[in-house]
Amino acid sequence: MTRMTMIEAIRDAHDVAMERDDRVVVFGEDVGYFGGVFRCTAGLQEKYGKTRCFDAPISELGIVGAAVGMAAYGLRPVIEIQFADYVYPAIDQIASEAARLRYRSAGDFTCPLVIRMPTGGGIFGGQTHSQSPEAFFTHVAGLKTVMPSSPQDAKGLLLAAIEDPDPVIFLEPKRLYNGPFDGHHDKPIVPWKKHELGDVDEGYYSTDLGKAVIRREGADVTILSYGTMVYVAEAAAEEAGVDAEIIDLRTLLPLDLETIKASVEKTGRCLVVHEATKTSGFGAELMSQVQETCFYHLETPIVRVTGWDTPYPHAQEWDYFPGPSRVIDALHQMMEN
C-alpha cells in the first residue's frame, strides 16, 4: 500500500504493464519526453525508451489510427487523447474501425487498445477542456467504457483495460487527479494523501471491468453515479441526511446491472447523477434499464441530476456543474413522495 494521487496511480499502472509485457506501447501528444500535460506518463520514455513511449503529431485521428494498426500487428497500444474534448477528430477510427474490427473480420484481426482521456470539468477549462462524452462511446457496439473514481481503481482498471482483448475507452475524471472533489468548490482542496482511497496496492493487480462497487450502503434511495459525481453524491447524501446507497459504476459498458437491480429493488428509489449534458446522456440509458428491470419496485420516478444542455461555460462553471445542492434537492424531493 502506498498513498498516491490518481496521476501517480495511472503512471504506475503504465509502468507495471510495460514491465510485464513488451507489447505495451504508449504514445500521444506530449506524452514522451515531457510525460503528458497531466504527467500521467512521466518517466516512461526514460525507462522504456523512445520507441515504447513517444510524442505523437497533433492528430487524434492519426494517434488512434496508428494504434489500430499496431494492435492489429500484435502490440497493445495505450494512447492518450490530451483532453476528451479532442477525441472527435478520432471518432471515425474509434467507432468505425477499432470497435468493429473483430466483428467484421470474424476474429481474424482484433484491436486490443486502450484510449485514455482526461474528462469532466471543475477546473475552469471552459467549453473545450471540460466535456464528458461517455454516452457516445456506450452507444457504439464493440467498445468498453470505463471511468474510475479513485487512485486504487484507476490503477486496477487501467491494468485490466490494457489486458482486455478489445478496445477500451478509459475516461479519467481530471478533477479527481489530485484529490477527491465533492463539489464544494469553496472549501479547501483535499489531496489524495489525506484520503483512504488514495491507498494503492503496489505492483500488479487488476480490477475487473464490468463490476460496480457500492461506495455507501443505504436503504432509502439508490444513487447511480461514476467519476467525480460519486463524491458529490456522497456529500449530498450526508448533508441531506438521506440513507442513500451510492453505487460507483466504474464501468459503464458492460454495465453491472445485477448490482444496480439488487439495490433499487431494496430501496425502491433511484437517482442518476452525471456531469455530462442531460439529453441522450448515459443517465438516460441508466434510467431506461432501471425502469425496464425494476419498474414494479419503484416508489417514485427515477430522477436524474446532470449538466445542463448547453456547452460547458467558463464563468458559470459552478452553475453548470451539478453540485451537492442540486443532488440534495433531488433527494429531498424523492423522499417526499
Binding site: 492519426g62 489510427g65 489500430v68 492489429a72 478489445d166
Partner: protein, 410 residues
C-alpha cells in the same frame, strides 16, 4: 494596387462528359524506359521529378525496355497473366451473379487488374496489405482460395466472415489482407500504424496501404503521410488513380497540382508514378519500394495511373456522368492485352494458348462457383446463423448481448 473585380469560384470539370468526344491529349505519357531507376537509398529531394513522370516498361510494341525491366522471369510473367485473367473472369461471373440476385453488391476491377496482381508478387508472406475494395488482385495472386471469396460474396454458411460483411469486404490475416472497411481512407493510416508496430518490434515485415484518387481527400490520407514522414516506418503507400471517384473525376480531389504523387513532396517522401496498366512496371516499382521499406529507408508513395473501365460498383451506371467512349480512348490500354502481346512477342505465348488458358480458367471459376452456390447464395441455401450476429462483437459476450440474443430467440 490591384483593381478590385468581383471574385468567383473555380469548380473544375472533366474534359469529357456524356456526349463529348473523349480527349486525353493533355495527358502526357512518357516513353517506356524513359524514367531512371534510382538506388533504393536515393535522397527524396533528388528524385522529385519522378512524381511528374510515369514509370513504364512495356513500350508501344509491348517490348520490355529500360532500367525497370527484367524483374520477372518468363514463368512469373505467365503466372501474372493467369492471375489477371482469373481476376477478370471471377469479376465477370460475380457481376452476373449479382445481377441474378445471388448477392446484394459487387465491385469489379475491370482495367485495373495489373495493380494488385503484380504488387502482391513483390511482397513476402507475413507482409500486410491494407487494401481498398478494389484490390482483390492481392488475394488472387496471393493464392487465397477462390471458394472463400465466393462464400463471402454469397454470405452463405461457409462465409469466413459469417455473413456480417458486405460482399467483397474480404479479410485474411493468413494471406496478408487486412479486413476491408466500408469507410474510405481509414486503412491508409492503419497501414502506417501496422508498419510502426513492425519497426517497434524489430521485425522485418512491411505493410502496404491502398487508397483511391478520390479518397486522398480524406483526413486519413494526411494522417498517414504525417506519421510516415515522421517515424519512417516500413510502408508502401499506394494511390490508385483510376481517374474517377464515383461520378466525380479525379480533378476534384487533385485540385491545382499536376499529380497525386506530388502530394508526397510536402512530406519528404519519395513519390513515384507508374503505368498501372503495365504489369511489369507495377511489379518493378513495387519491388523497388518494398526493398526500400525492408532496408529501413522508410515509406514510398506510389501513384498507379490507371482507368476504371467499368462502373464504380454494381449500383453504378457510369454512362450518366462520363462518355461511353472514354474507356476505349484511355491511352494506357488494357493490362491483360498488353502482357499477352508481350508474352507473344517473347515467343512463349500465342492467341491459341491464351484462348485455351481463358477457357481453362473460366471452367475452374465456374466449378468453384457451382461449389459455392451449392452451399448457398444470399438469402438462399445454407446461411449464417442469426445467432452468429451476436458473436464476436467482443471476445467474450457481455451480459447485455447474451440477454439480447436470448430475446431474439437464439
Amino acid at each position: 494596387m490591384t483593381t478590385i473585380r468581383p471574385l468567383s469560384l473555380n469548380v473544375p470539370e472533366p474534359e469529357c462528359r456524356p456526349g463529348d468526344e473523349p480527349d486525353f491529349s493533355d495527358f502526357v505519357i512518357p516513353k517506356a524506359g524513359e524514367v531512371a531507376r534510382p538506388p533504393i537509398d536515393a535522397d527524396p529531394n533528388d528524385i522529385t521529378d519522378m512524381a511528374f513522370s510515369i514509370i513504364r516498361v512495356l513500350n508501344a510494341n509491348d517490348e520490355a525496355v529500360g532500367p525497370w525491366a527484367d524483374t520477372l522471369n518468363n514463368d512469373e510473367l505467365i503466372e501474372g497473366l493467369r492471375h489477371m485473367i482469373t481476376l477478370r473472369t471471377f469479376d465477370a461471373r460475380m457481376m452476373t451473379a449479382q445481377r441474378q440476385g445471388k448477392t446484394s453488391f459487387y465491385i469489379q476491377h475491370l482495367g485495373e487488374e495489373a495493380i494488385g496482381c503484380a504488387f502482391r508478387v513483390a511482397l513476402r508472406d507475413g507482409d500486410m496489405n491494407f487494401p481498398t475494395y478494389r484490390q482483390a488482385g492481392l488475394l488472387i495472386a496471393g493464392g487465397y482460395p477462390m471458394i472463400e471469396m465466393m462464400n463471402q460474396i454469397y454470405s452463405n454458411s461457409q462465409d469466413p466472415l459469417h455473413g456480417r460483411q458486405l460482399p467483397i469486404m474480404y479479410s485474411s490475416k493468413e494471406h496478408g489482407f487486412f479486413s476491408i472497411s466500408g469507410n474510405l481512407g481509414t486503412q491508409f493510416m492503419q497501414s502506417v500504424g501496422w508498419a510502426m508496430g513492425s519497426a517497434i518490434s524489430g521485425d522485418t515485415k512491411i505493410a502496404t496501404g491502398w487508397i483511391g484518387d478520390g479518397s486522398t481527400a480524406e483526413s486519413d490520407f494526411h494522417a498517414a503521410m504525417v506519421f510516415a514522414s515522421t517515424y519512417k516506418p516500413p510502408v508502401v503507400l499506394n494511390i490508385v488513380n483510376n481517374q474517377w471517384a464515383i461520378s466525380t473525376f479525379q480533378g476534384i480531389a487533385r485540385g491545382g497540382v499536376g499529380t497525386f504523387a506530388a502530394r508526397g513532396h510536402g512530406f519528404g517522401i519519395p513519390s513515384v508514378r507508374v503505368d498501372g496498366n503495365d504489369y511489369l512496371a507495377v511489379h518493378a516499382v513495387a519491388k523497388w519500394a518494398s526493398e526500400r521499406a525492408r532496408a529501413g529507408h522508410g515509406p514510398t508513395l506510389i501513384e498507379h495511373v490507371t482507368y476504371r473501365a467499368g462502373g464504380h460498383s454494381s449500383s453504378d451506371d457510369p454512362s450518366a456522368y462520363r462518355a461511353k467512349e472514354e474507356s476505349a480512348a484511355w491511352p494506357l490500354g488494357d493490362p491483360i492485352e498488353r502482357l499477352k502481346k508481350h508474352l507473344i512477342g517473347l515467343g512463349i505465348w500465342s492467341e491459341e494458348i491464351h484462348a485455351k488458358e481463358q477457357q481453362a480458367i473460366l471452367d475452374q471459376v465456374i466449378a468453384v462457383q457451382k461449389e459455392a452456390e451449392a452451399i448457398g447464395t444470399l438469402g438462399a441455401g445454407k446461411m449464417p446463423s442469426p445467432r452468429d450476429m451476436f458473436e464476436g462483437v467482443y471476445e467474450t459476450m457481455p451480459p447485455h448481448l447474451v440477454r439480447q440474443r436470448q430475446e431474439a430467440g437464439y
